[in-house]
């Protein structure tokens, strides 16, 4: 094994890119289903629920990988404010990846609806049925999804800034295993 200190572990990179695809797909699926009355609404909803639970499971694996593998250092010349922005935005990304599927699960429970991942695969309810709780969670699900979308966009813009302008190896640390 000759993995450089400047790169994320292969498993961390695999999880990052897999979840990047899933989360971006999920954001567009959610936005599309909430704005459609066509058959697309049903089709997207049936994708949204199992994909959300898959993301919830993967983020747990990913947090474990995050704390047990080597994290490449940020460049020493990165201004302190950008270091802080990087750290806070990563905390926010992890928190949203974890909370959004849980809120989705909780809001279906609070509506008193069966939590169906397919026509026969059912998850237990995690909250008692309550209309005010449902309304709060349903709105939180939307607002936090927008927050996640904008955080993902900022994350992408920052990654490209590192890769195209600063050219400091930060983007490469997630793209490649070697220089």
């Amino acid at each position: 094994m000759s993995i450089s200190n400047k790169h994320f572990a292969p498993l961390a990179r695999l999880l990052h890119w897999l979840m990047a695809l899933m989360i971006i797909a999920m954001l567009f699926i959610g936005a599309g289903l909430a704005a459609s009355v066509s058959e697309r609404h049903e089709w997207l909803l049936n994708l949204h629920k199992p994909l959300g639970i898959a993301i919830l499971l993967l983020v747990i694996v990913r947090l474990f990988v995050r704390f047990t593998t080597h994290q490449p250092a940020l460049p020493a010349d990165l201004p302190a404010v950008q270091v802080l922005a990087a750290k806070l935005s990563h905390v926010l990304l992890y928190a949203l990846m974890f909370c959004l599927p849980l809120i989705g699960w909780a809001m279906i429970s609070a509506a008193g609806d069966p939590v169906m991942l397919s026509s026969s695969l059912q998850l237990p309810s995690i909250l008692a049925a309550n209309p005010s709780t449902f309304a709060f969670l349903r709105k939180a699900h939307t607002y936090l999804a927008y927050l996640l979308f904008f955080t993902v966009l900022a994350h992408l813009a920052a990654a490209l800034l590192h890769g195209w302008v600063r050219r400091d190896g930060v983007l490469e640390s997630m793209v490649r295993s070697k220089d």
Partner: protein
Amino acid sequence: MVDQLPPVRPVKAALSPTSVLLRLAGIGAVVAVIATTFFYVNGTLDAERLRPKTLVNALERNNGVHPGYRRNHAKGMCVIGYFESNGNAQPLSRAQVFEAGRTPVVGRFALPSGNPYAPDSSVPIRSLALRFTQSNGQQWRTGMNSMPVFPVGTPEAFYAMLQAGTPDPATGKPKPDAMPAFFAAHPETAAFLQWVKTAKPSASFATESYNGINAFYLVNAAGQRQAVRWGVVPEGQDAAGATAPNDADYLEKDLVQRLSAGPLRWQFNLTLADAGDPINDASKTWPASRKVINAGTLVLQSAQPQNDGECRDINYDPLILPNGVEGSGDPLLAARSAAYASSYLRRTSEVDQLSQEKRP
């Protein structure tokens, strides 16, 4: 922990200011393309698209906003009972509800309007929504109406019908020529118009038949699918007087009175489609000769006021179905599911205001 190792950076030629600007513009372009696509998908940049909120806003325009109430079929009552399956539908569907035995039901009788104070005699249509809760936790929800067909077959036509019924701000009433013009432009409304000609506001919820109207597929243990429409037919209920009493809320009184004398029963029937019958169009009838299977008996035992009854917080989404029942390609099913979700969020947000609205 992030190690603070001194980075060993390969020496790269410095970028010219123009090159930096171009690269920043490239990043901006990537972000802009993704954001624009997202705001197109969520409908913000696609003003023409029929969205769930478009339909619910139209209902609110036509009926006013009554906080905490459903945006359509706003006036109603909860009912509690069970479905006693006779097992006859088991060869057609593997759903647990069709195995012989009882499944608890929470239902709701209602009038088809967004006005919770509409007089019972104002429309000749009554509705019955049901939620069956199977012992395996899966649910079946359905909303049925006393008419045999829906006026239109698509959400777009339904929206056009709502628009034709929108009050003119000048008079507070819909333009008199708007609805006739809508019907003229929508020949698919013919079957509904034929029915409505002779339909009268019934004096009781108990004497009505209720029809699921939209088609669904039953799927049996072997995976075979059969398109069906379902409905309930009253069993030996005493006919009420031919004309409705002169009171705005006689249906509730009648229902409570009848239930105090004993449970009310309906036969639960499944009408099987033949090849070639319209599966995806709720505005079209099926020939009367189609095979009908009696799947059991719906028994309603008690009623509750809707503002604190068990049905209040149930969204009778027609696509909440048990394994063994599937939605058809009828475009109204997805539209109902999507619009009900929008209405449900609005009214659950306002549930605390339910007792506060003053009755006009």
